[in-house]
Symmetry: C2
Subunit: 278 residues, 2 copies
Amino acid sequence: MQIINNISAVRSKITALKKKNKSIGFVPTMGALHEGHLSLLRKAKKECDIVVLSIYVNPAQFGPREDFKAYPRDKKKDCLLAKKEKVDIIFYPSDKMMYPRRYLTYINVNEITSILCGKSRPTHFRGVTTIVGKLLNIAGPDVIYLGQKDAQQCIVIQKMIDDLNFPVKVRICPTVREKDGLALSSRNKYLSAKQRKEAVVLYQSLLLAKQHIRRGTKNIATIKNMMRKKIKKTSGKIDYIECVDAKTLEPIKTIKGKILIACAVKFGPARLIDNIIV
Amino acid sequence: MQIINNISAVRSKITALKKKNKSIGFVPTMGALHEGHLSLLRKAKKECDIVVLSIYVNPAQFGPREDFKAYPRDKKKDCLLAKKEKVDIIFYPSDKMMYPRRYLTYINVNEITSILCGKSRPTHFRGVTTIVGKLLNIAGPDVIYLGQKDAQQCIVIQKMIDDLNFPVKVRICPTVREKDGLALSSRNKYLSAKQRKEAVVLYQSLLLAKQHIRRGTKNIATIKNMMRKKIKKTSGKIDYIECVDAKTLEPIKTIKGKILIACAVKFGPARLIDNIIV
């Protein structure tokens, strides 16, 4: 396993591998690796000759009052975990390298970035699409691996890739959960013991919604109300609960076709998100 | 020479050539080819194994009241000229292919796109950077060739390529001029005989500025006034006359270092631009 800090070094390394007809699988992360990330690395290892992992806490996707500084960083542990998964290359750049002085360029996906998480985090997805665009240009992978936990991120990145004709395939892997159902997230570290116990309510409210849809409930307001009631029994503060088209994120009027049910709830400093597709 | 309309066809053709270690030179155009474009094709042919020419009148870079519909289109003539220059591949896509239904993604370079031409054409450069980003992802060239006539476009595209880490080199080629000095442009076709004669004033006013700078004039207002006076003797309507840093387009206070002097003047339906570096 090679840890590379430098853009031109990682690029020439990967270009050489591609000339030897090696396929490149790419997993972009902000580090603080957990089983969710590892499942992406395993999938990439299975499907591609070379696995490239990027670890970079991207300032552009954090709002001014968000947790950029507090975001967990543990290079040593991350590298150990990556080595166990037989990652070939870790790209570990600095802020100076990714956003040099007088940086001016951003990729914007309109409309679908101003709903759900984009409503309370207005510059978040601009930061995500910009860094992913940069990383795709640097690593030039054949396949990029993303986790379904960040459902909107998956759809926004897929849309950017389609619209801008990036020559890469997107593979979305299932959400990995704790035993009690809580979706794995680097931000779970922010939770107190009490909050940790309560936080399972995100998944439980999603399962409740699923159950009622399976039983025939078609009214979206009814479903959202049910979820809201359940979450309100905890100390969590609801950011949003939404039911939208699972492919386009477009608003829907009634339960029909594939639907994404998604919610965001704040427990103290931790803003948690979860979703299911029904 | 192959004319390809289809994104995946042109991509797989070029990918195959790159696997054979062929270098790819790329010239993006809106067609209506003139000696300026041909000089780019010749430079590309000299420096690269394969020359890819794209011909696409990009709607995203025209404002609502601009000349998108009137813009000259002559596929047959363009293909003949390209063949003479030994172009290997012409990429000739449709609007439907480049901007399918529910297209949402744009590349924005901030600041340097809202001055000079960007002031009177507020969405122009967003259209330019988006289409060039798309074409770079489709063609994957080693070198892109641009003409100095569109000075701001060259700097904006270079900035996008640097900021987003596109793996491509930029080569900027000198402006090609008519015998009397008028910069070649597809839009010169809009000029009446009288306007055509008058239009040489753009270059003449630039030369006047150069002369005075060479003689020691340091005051920018003086230089701009001189140019304004000269242009006002014709029927042309001045859009802007500017002196800025030739690398960054940043405003300057006095003549020092490499300076871009640029102007835009309207003659009837034709908005003409020209520039020199001093």
